[in-house]
């Protein structure tokens, strides 16, 4: 292996768990040019190689760990990795991302991606030590939590390696199982940990010492210097996030009456101040956490009962807090840590608990669950990971849980994925983003909280439905392209489309304008859409729970509803999709996607 490898020269590592064989394949040049890497690479691999209707938890599903052409270069925040698979939670194609340091190690080891095929007959883990790759026995660590797993594997391999692993939730095929790295960074959403568990794959350990090359180092240096300067000039990336972390949003979102409370029954949490970023800083801050190559450092380290724990980050804090009516910040941090330990997605875990609480409140479910009451909740979380009692039912997520108890309308989800911490009634564009996300209820496919709430790059009226389809499409396409570089979403508070394009151009040698980069993102978004249509999704799935078409009773977003019927047709039109939400042949041709 070259000691200064370009991403274009980095092989894709195919790991066949059935017979424990390994094969290296070159990154196909046309795939690289059209899909770049990261999410795009994984999506293309899945689209081409996964038969429609494949059971996500069957050996036939593919599990891709990918990095991008920016990974482990000087591009700020580019140490992340992305997991692409068919989600057992949503049935859609799914990409789930994590920070930490694992992605950089994988890239330094020389690989563009690792693709897992089949299923091992006994628990295994993959040890990537530069070019030496071994499938190793993991029976001894099967059953261990993510912290113990990480420690054991680092001891068994190399203390300088990085681990991405599952905990009990993934082993037990829980549909909200995450893949954890560096103990508290998570590729959390969509049950990607369950896919790993279904393959009897406990972990990947990676250590790389190779140099990472780029096409034009001098040009990239100039682009990166500018990118760093912009991060330093931006109030969110230079002040709010470093000082308070993502929990800075608690007060802001609550003030606007869109902090989901009691399973989205309300948008204002009376005790928001007690669970705010400001309070977290005052009461528990023990430091900040920077992922690889990140000048921002939004990660929180909290000192809880004498123990340093990661987080809680905004979404986790909300899900385990206001969503369940809980105002005990210390308990929230403990519950968050427990989710990390067990390998559970905090958003889906908290949101599903909130849904269960409402089911109890509405008399649909008989269980000791009550809004605002933490009694016994840690045991429920434990049960969700270990598939015990009601916890086993809850581990399937709010959609299946609410359907089981005859009240599907109480599940706050889209396409089976629990919604995150912004009530869509208060942000029309963000609502459209939820409804049209290719991976279900997700805030990161098109983070319109930037313009609609925080005013980046400019404040737009959060209540207006017109003009939002345009912005949602812009953000979805840009996010897809960023996910091919595999950089952090927070950079787009500070960088413009042109900055990403310049860094990609300098790094790869493809001369991309901002519009070219958006076109690349659009291609990925459409291919994902085709994948989902192939799986049976229709325009009917581009919707929101009925709750969001009734007004919030009070608070800063009172009287608002989501105007999806106004935005969705415009969105389809702009996307070049027909009335049923299907990309037209003309659109596909424009994007160089083969028309079947």
């Amino acid at each position: 292996m070259s000691k200064s490898s370009l991403y274009s020269d980095a092989p894709i590592l195919h790991v066949f768990l059935n017979d424990k064989s390994i094969r290296r394949e070159s990154l196909p040049p046309d795939l690289y040019e059209q899909y770049l890497g990261g999410r795009g690479l994984g999506v293309k691999l899945l689209f081409d190689n996964l038969a429609p209707g494949t059971d996500a938890l069957s050996p036939e599903n593919l599990l891709v760990f990918a990095v991008g052409p920016s990974t482990a270069t000087s591009v700020p925040t580019a140490g992340r990795f992305v997991v692409i698979t068919k989600s057992p939670t949503t049935g859609t194609i799914f990409d789930s991302h994590a920070g930490g340091y694992f992605g950089a190690q994988l890239r330094h080891a020389g690989f563009a991606a690792v693709v897992f095929h089949g299923k091992a007959d006994t628990p295994m883990y993959l040890w990537i030590n530069d070019d030496n790759v071994e499938i190793r026995e993991a029976s001894k660590i099967w059953g261990k939590d993510t912290y113990a797993t990480t420690d054991a594997l680092l001891e068994e391999t190399d203390s300088k390696a990085q681990v991405a692993c599952i905990g009990p939730a993934g082993e037990n095929l829980g549909l909200m199982a995450a893949i954890m790295t560096d103990k508290h960074r998570a590729a959390g959403r969509g049950g990607v940990g369950a896919v790993m568990g279904s393959k009897n794959l406990k972990a990947i350990v990676a250590k790389g010492t190779g140099e990472v090359g780029v096409h034009d180092p001098e040009r990239l240096k100039v682009a990166v210097e500018r990118a760093r300067r912009l991060i330093k000039k931006n109030a969110v990336t230079d002040k709010s996030l470093p000082i308070y972390g993502t929990p800075v949003l608690v007060s802001v979102v609550n003030e606007l009456g869109m902090l989901p409370t009691h399973n989205f029954q309300e948008g204002t949490f009376n005790d928001a101040e007690g669970v705010s970023g400001e309070k977290l800083l005052e009461r528990f801050s023990a430091g900040t956490y920077h992922c690889h190559g990140c000048p921002i450092g939004c990660g929180r380290i909290s000192l809880i009962q004498g123990k340093k724990v990661g987080g809680p980050e905004y979404e986790s804090l909300w899900a385990l807090g206001p969503q369940c009516g809980i105002n005990d910040l210390e308990w929230i941090a403990i519950a968050n840590d427990k989710c990390n330990l067990l390998g559970l997605d905090t958003i889906s875990t908290g949101s599903t608990i909130g849904a269960a609480m409402e089911l109890v409140e509405k008399g649909k479910l008989d269980a000791p669950l009550k809004f605002g009451d933490t009694s016994g909740l840690l045991d429920f979380i434990d049960d969700m990971a270990h598939m015990r009692g009601l916890g086993a039912k809850m581990s399937e997520g709010s959609k299946r849980l609410a359907e089981r108890y005859g009240a599907p309308e109480l599940a706050m989800q889209v396409k089976g994925l629990e919604l995150p911490a912004y009530d869509p009634r208060g942000v029309q564009g963000h609502a459209l983003g939820y409804a049209t996300s290719n991976r279900g209820g997700c805030h990161l496919r098109s983070y319109l909280i930037g313009p609609e709430v925080l005013g980046f790059p400019v404040l737009v009226d959060r209540d207006r439905p017109d003009g939002k389809a345009d912005l949602v499409m812009l953000y979805q396409d840009l996010s897809a392209a960023m996910d091919c570089m595999v950089v952090c979403r927070f950079t787009n508070f500070a960088w413009t489309v042109d900055d990403y394009a310049e860094m990609v151009s300098a790094g790869t040698g493809f001369e991309l304008s901002g519009r070219d980069l958006l076109r690349l993102g659009e291609r990925i978004y459409n291919l994902e859409r085709l994948f989902n249509l192939r799986e049976g999704f229709t325009a009917k799935d581009d919707t929101l729970p009925p709750r969001f078409f009734k007004p919030l009773p009070e608070g800063g977003s009172r009287k608002r509803i989501v105007h999806l019927d106004e935005m969705l047709p415009e969105y389809y039109l702009l996307r070049g999709w027909d009335n049923e939400g299907r990309p037209t042949n003309e659109t596909l041709r424009k994007l160089d996607i083969p028309v079947s």
Binding site: L230, N234, L471, L474
Partner: protein
Amino acid sequence: MDLTVEKLAKMIDHTVLKPETTQSKIKQLCDEAVIYDFAAVCINPVHAAYAAELLKDTSVKVCVVVGFPLGATTPEVKAFETKTVVSAGAHEVDMVMNIGAMRDENFDLVKHDIESVVSTSGDAHVKVILETGFFKDDQKRKACLICKEAGADFVKTSTGFGPMGATPHDVMLMRETVGPSMGVKAAGGIRSFKDAIRLVDAGADRLGTSAGVAIVEDFRWAQYSDSWMAPDKPCWTCPSRMANMAKQPKEVYMWYKERCLTCPDKVHNVFND
């Protein structure tokens, strides 16, 4: 106007006027002004010579405030301050009008105050800060006319330290009053490219802001969507929304608020938007 990133940058006075400003901040300000080719840096007198040295041989002007931020010193002191900063290298002087005299309708004193600065400014352009938040519309118009008669080059909305920032309403009023031959500088509370464009559209030909870099950088997003400039709630840019009882004279505050009662956009006037 077909506004480009470069044209927008050339309308910006890159501003730092906080009392705690250090030399390193002035250095950063000047470096950024050169990188982005802003019209000027706008600074306090104490930094004039240093900024002039940093910006010599560049197209970026040095703009220095005088009688700032209250405007409540005497014409003689403003004249002395002007002479000092011009000799230190200032190309432009932003003076604060005698606000109290204007409210007293002592128009001669207001005019004399401005003339004392104009007469000592040499080749430097003089901009007169009205501090619009202290006035009703009729008073703003009168103030503009006095500035014009006194020979000032620009009228300017605000200091950034007063009760209100720049609004399209005020800029439009000022432009209509002074006509095309004088400059109109909008300053105070300009945080985004949307703010900037609205003020330019209202008639401003110079923008004073400490967010110049963000405005120019964020303006690069404009090419990717027309939706950024979609109309906002009308109250967002209305001076009546910004009225502040604690900072304004009672009759001025009430004048602004009474406008809300008869405003055709009253339905939009909610405070959680």
